[in-house]
Amino acid sequence: MTITRRTLGLGTAALAGAAALPGALQAQAPLNVGFILIGPVGDFGWSTMHDVGRRRMLEVLGNRVTATQVESVAPPDFDRVANQLARTGSRLIFTTSFSYFQPTMRVAPTLPNVMFENATGTSTLPNLSIYNARFYEGRYVQGVIAARKSRSKTIGYIASFPVPEVIHAINTVMRGAWSVDPQMRIRVVWVSAWFNPAREADAARALIDQGCDVICQHTDSPAPLQLANERGVFGFGQASDMTRFAPRAHLTSSVNNWGDYYAERARAVLEGTWRPGDVWGGLNSGMFRLAPFTNMTPEETAEAERIRDAIAAGTLHPFDGPILRQDGTEVIPAGQRLTDDQIRAQNYFYRGIDVAMP
């Protein structure tokens, strides 16, 4: 049996090598990086952007790395896929969903020679890093823009699931909006899916019919934005630059960019400098960026750029006190700022959001 495996291993290595480098001489065998995706590569959202990141890593590091990807892996199948990646030579594995966090915590100690990186996880191990982006910083800018653009003073928010990420995004959008106009209101529809184009579009229709004229989306498909375009209201893109889907409606998109991080971490493994880390990258980290502002006046654009740059520079912080919960109780007083753990742990809406917490 070992013979079969070894010959096969050689076969794959030869295959990978042939693809990676024309010459025979190679200082170091290429590092194989594994990626485990929660959805299909073609979801045009979360998983697609990790795939884009993988390709960016290959571009940056050239023939020093190869990459292997497994898509639509359900959590119960995770252990096997991770093991199989390790057995076929992956020495660095990105597990790109929170659903994989516990499974990764379980598998990592059994594969001490493989480095793991979990997206959006909450703790580290000697061979497990966690990484995420501070998408909420972009949400704050969206809130500012929405307040400038809205005539009905009502933002529509298409939400996926009530997880902390989405809750604090809703809070930040409103903080941004209130910084322009304290009268701004929000309506929220939960579609119970990260990706269901037609239902997302239906949710956008419902929100627009109820008077919302700027649509924020926390789901992956361009459907809400397309609908905003059709109905003559504004919207923001998610995950990738969605300008082309809504030439008249698109204001900006929050564009995920994992590639540089992936390249950096793969290089660290190659050079033997990899250490477990907890990275929560903001606008300044390049882990995500805002797509060029469109359909905005020069003044609006200038303001949005100013806010964006201030957040990136750290001079404006979306979570400065005072912060009050919906019921009026105080989270932090003026002069304080939410810690990272407090940001992550938000399971309440701020005062002024008149939507019930699910």
Binding site: M1, T2, T4, R5, L8, G11, T12, L15, G34, I38, P40, V41, G42, T68, Q69, V70, E71, S72, V73, A74, P75, P76, D77, D79, R80, V81, N83, Q84, L85, R87, T88, F98, S99, F101, Q102, P103, R106, T122, F161, P162, V163, P164, I167, S192, R344, A345, Q346, N347
Partner: protein, 357 residues
């Protein structure tokens, strides 16, 4: 020209063996063409797809782990379909079984847990799945509402129930508000059976179920009544078979097995509840049941075959960088071939020049 099927009198052992082999060979040939079209070496691909999962102890254990829920659920479904009862909501019963069993683990987490816990969890899982399956049974026997519709719709309800529980009442208080329950303690986790793999107690349980089910199906009066009800409902009525009670019975049984599969999966591999805990086992098991010709031993074989293709699909992605969709196409083709070759067992296929029927 047209296809004509002629019934065979008897099917020899050689043919029984040849049919599935022919199906696999045809699938291999089609797969090879597709692999080549996608730029992969067909031989390496076929090896990764069909042989690698079976090539060592670790791989075999993984096949067993993957096949266990499929086999358990499909054995229950086989009884339903034999009786002409169309339970297609096993996915929901799987989830509710997982919920019911996990509830015990969560409720006692951090408190006194003992060796009683695991058996209790398995019993709760079976009961939960069974109770959930009795809803369509009740709607069928009491109101005449089609179980095809009700059992399918209840799958979505079960998914949303799971979603609500893990985001709300059962959420791990120390889990940063993420949608997951606490990780089960060792007392609530199925023991592993072998070194260097994930084989757990679930697999022997599934094998035991197959043996008992095979006995019940072929050697008992109940098994006969179930077949009679499905094949000749009128005759069954004359023979004094209580159709209502039998409908309840097969629903309860298949729900129990699906629920048992659910809690085995959760306490054996995942060790916590979270959304998306089933990759569609309940639906795949329907295919398994029919591939296995609604016979428990057949379900065992078909479950293993399907498990191999799932794992082979992962291997193809890992070793050949083939997209998942390509392996789905191959899976679909394989199933088509298996079904088509089944026909060869029952019929002789002839091509005839057009003759009036």
């Amino acid at each position: 020209m047209r296809l004509v099927l002629e019934q065979r009198g008897e099917t020899g052992l050689a043919l029984r063996m040849a049919s599935p082999l022919l199906a696999v060979a045809l699938a291999l040939a089609s797969a090879a063409v597709m692999f080549a079209a996608l730029g992969a070496d067909p031989l390496v691909a076929l090896h990764a797809y069909f042989l690698l999962p079976l090539s060592d102890s670790w791989g075999l254990q993984e096949v067993a782990v993957k096949a266990t829920p499929l086999v358990l659920i499909s054995v229950g479904l086989a009884f339903c379909y034999r009786a002409g009862v169309w339970n297609i909501g096993a996915e929901g019963q799987f989830l509710v079984g997982a919920l019911a069993g996990a509830w015990l683990a969560i409720a006692t987490h951090g408190a006194a847990q003992g060796p009683w816990l695991l058996p209790a969890m398995l019993a709760a899982g079976a009961l939960g799945g069974s109770a959930f399956a009795l809803i369509p049974a009740l709607l069928r026997t009491r109101f005449g509402a089609s179980e095809i519709l009700t059992s399918l719709m209840l799958v979505y309800v079960a998914e949303l129930l799971l979603d609500w529980l893990v985001r709300g009442p059962w959420r791990d208080p120390a889990g940063f508000n993420m949608p997951q329950t606490v990780t089960f303690s060792p007392a609530a986790t199925l023991p592993l059976l072998a070194e260097g793999g994930r084989l757990n107690l679930g697999t022997p349980i599934a094998l035991l179920v197959v043996i008992v089910a095979a006995f019940v199906a072929t050697r008992t009066l109940k098994g006969f009544e179930i077949r009679l009800l499905g094949e000749a409902p009128r005759a069954a009525r004359f023979a004094g078979v209580d159709a209502k009670r039998l409908t309840w019975g097969v629903f309860a049984l298949s729900g129990a097995l699906a629920g048992l599969a659910g809690i085995l999966e959760v306490s054996g591999t995942l060790r916590q509840l979270q959304p998306g805990l089933s990759p569609g086992y309940g639906f795949t098991a329907i295919i398994v049941a029919f591939l296995g010709r609604l016979n428990p031993v057949g379900c065992l074989v078909a479950g293993i075959l399907l498990a191999v293709t799932f794992i082979g699909g992962e291997n193809a992605q890992i070793m050949l960088r083939l997209p998942l969709d390509a392996t789905r196409v191959i899976q679909g083709l394989l199933l088509f071939y298996v079904l088509a070759c089944d026909t060869l067992l029952l019929y002789r296929v002839r091509l005839l020049r057009s003759v009036p029927a």
